[in-house]
Symmetry: C2
Subunit: 194 residues, 2 copies
């Protein structure tokens, strides 16, 4: 029942992306992450960079008006809403194709009416996440903790805005794994084993 579509929500820096890719490899099914960004960009007509920036994060300024863009098909919608609508369409289409792993982008919410989901949430303590983002993205002017807190805040706001549920709520998932204590390989083993 739970072996068809695996959605992986993850805290930034919790290695959820790596875990998702490895699970997909192990099960021999596709893993969608950056592919979603490409498809949403194509679908919405908006720049890939913008889709990347606005597809999972809501900034303090909230939604931005599209009035200054050339894109006017949905002229009464903000860019975030256009991206959301395209994301819903793309994710539903990908799920229709068959078994896969979908990383982030509220997929467990978008696909909530399907009965063949395994909804995973990956979290980790601040220390492990800080270490992970420095190893993947390098040092920046801001401390890793500050970068993580900022991302957490924006992802939570985005999630709440579009799904009306709390980011990381265990009840919105079937399983939550702490990659900081379990490690990447153990998480992969548990998910693939289900």
């Amino acid at each position: 029942m739970y072996d068809k579509i695996i959605t992986i929500s993850r805290e930034f820096g919790s290695a959820g992306h790596t875990i998702g890719k490895k699970v997909a490899e192990k099960l021999g099914i596709p893993c969608y992450d950056s592919e979603i960004v490409d498809k949403v960009a194509l679908e919405s007509g908006l720049l890939k960079e913008l889709v990347e920036e606005k597809g999972e994060y809501l900034s303090a300024a909230g939604r931005i008006s599209t009035s200054f863009t050339l894109y006017n098909l949905y002229s009464n919608m903000s860019k975030e809403d256009i991206i959301w609508a395209a994301q819903v369409k793309v994710i539903k289409e990908l799920a229709e194709k068959g078994p896969c792993v979908i990383i982030g982008r509220c997929a467990e919410y978008i696909l909530r009416e399907r009965t063949d989901l395994l909804r995973v949430f990956i979290c980790a303590d601040m220390e492990s996440r800080a270490e992970h983002i420095v190893s993947v993205y390098g040092e920046k002017d801001e401390s890793p903790e500050k970068r993580l807190k900022d991302k957490d805040k924006k992802r939570a706001a985005y999630y709440k805005y579009y799904t009306e549920t709390e980011w990381g709520d265990p009840l919105c998932h079937d399983i939550c794994l702490n990659s900081g204590t379990l490690g990447i390989d153990k998480c992969v083993e548990i998910i693939a084993g289900m």
Copy 2:
């Protein structure tokens, strides 16, 4: 590393007790639940019923003074604090005996310095939990939802008071399982498989 002591926190009505018992049976290790109540009663000199009532729940009235009890060894402590102190001692002693499953009672917090823990949290949606408590404890004057909300509130208050962390925080556990969607047997299989 994670196969020695399994702590199971659970929402009331999420079948965490049943899951814990089944995991212990499967692994051939003891499961401590009501045994803890017996031992804490013995250790504290307080009635078993009181230990059961105050060992996981904090009422709105907060802690009760012991001034009216005959028990005066810790006369400056509330009954809740006496129970907590006895619970810490009993749980640490049980863990010292070897591999086991310990259900509830903030065991994952009490044993947090050990490196051989697998800390599990079991949750479920309100509907499954309501169904579960009616099947186990029967109907009562209050609706199952009201009973669940009341228990949740008191458990969360107790947990926060004694551990200074949030009840059910995924970061305080290694794995959170949604028994409402996965079912009891799948949860047992995942935990025992780890």
